[in-house]
Symmetry: C2
Subunit: 178 residues, 2 copies
DNA sequence: TAATCTGTTCAAGAATAATTGAACCTAAGG
DNA sequence: CCTTAGGTTCAATTATTCTTGAACAGATTA
């Protein structure tokens, strides 16, 4: 089979650089590493599926970063693998549906936090009932109720956001293996 | 004037420790340093206004951290200073209105990002019009439109979130000096 | 004015998080 | 089998962010 010659490694056009920068800031905003933003940005701009090696060349980051970044993005549902016939390389494309992106983020990044938060609230409640002496109990309970009401508000918001973005359903329990 | 004896420095009750932990994780979730979460958590639990020194003692963190943490929290509107008569010390109380907290966060943390994002979008648009060669122009424009539609969705969401939390108005331009 | 009390600032050090690159798999080709 | 291409892993390095504490500034009192 044909050996691929050196790839498409011409410099990134400036509008793409701008988009990449935008996604780098976005990634940072939601607590993801810069490299993840770069990779998504690059795929977002691309007209055709992009290979691993092209990402390394275009972004000038290490193979390790690309591998890990793609892993995160696949897991979030932000990129899809596009298998191309006579090529052993994986080709990647960006998921452009905001709905998908937000759902993936909610599932993988927010979900676990919300669950653990919920567990912690239960613990706190138990501690209040068992360890706070009566004179202070009422105040502690009041604060606890505030926390719970915040949690409830939070839970209302997520589905709402998904609805605005055109989404239908919410996250169940997760699936998708590495 | 009377010299204050050594403060209330008994160990933090375990339910408070739990709440502090919760806020530490919350702070981390929204990109704020641990110490800010600790301080807010401590104030949140307190029955009465708390002094600077009490925070240092209860949380076992440095005066510098407390000073900086309180600065952030004041700026966000998450704590208020409560002036108490015959005391030169500042006393702090936590703002318990979720609405206030979210508004402050939107104004100080999100706002600037959204504005700069908007500016970047304009730049990208200009670059596409001026530098992308015709065969690729249409694709680039299509991607740009996707970005803009995402931005618009984002802008719809914020007021909506504030509404769910009982808020009325949104952020204008900011005020409040250090 | 000196002395003390409160709190702030910021450079230096400590702690975290991200990136790199070489070793390492696995599948396919020869 | 042995080799190579394509990717992944992970320990070590590097970059970033947080915390600390000593020096500082203002404000009050003696």
């Amino acid at each position: 089979m044909k050996k691929m010659g050196p790839e498409n490694i011409k410099a990134m056009p400036s509008w793409e650089a701008g988009v990449v920068e935008l996604f780098v800031r976005g990634a940072n905003l939601v607590g993801l590493p810069r490299s993840v933003g770069e990779i998504y940005g690059c795929l977002f701009c691309a007209q055709e599926p992009v290979t691993f090696d092209t990402l390394v060349a275009r972004l000038k980051i290490s193979r390790g970063s690309v591998s890990q970044g793609l892993k995160v993005l696949r897991q979030l549902g932000a990129v899809k693998v596009h298998y191309i016939v006579g090529s052993r390389k994986d080709h990647y494309i960006a998921e452009l549906s905001m709905q998908e992106l937000v759902q993936g983020f909610a599932r993988d990044q927010l979900g676990p936090h919300l669950e653990s938060g919920s567990a912690r609230l239960k613990k706190i409640e138990a501690l209040i009932e068992s360890e706070v002496d009566p004179e202070k109990r009422s105040h502690a309970e009041q604060r606890f109720n505030t926390l719970r009401s915040w949690q409830q508000s939070g839970q209302k918001i997520l589905p709402l956001v998904l609805a605005v973005l055109g989404g239908r359903k919410f996250f169940s329990k997760r699936a998708q293996k590495d």
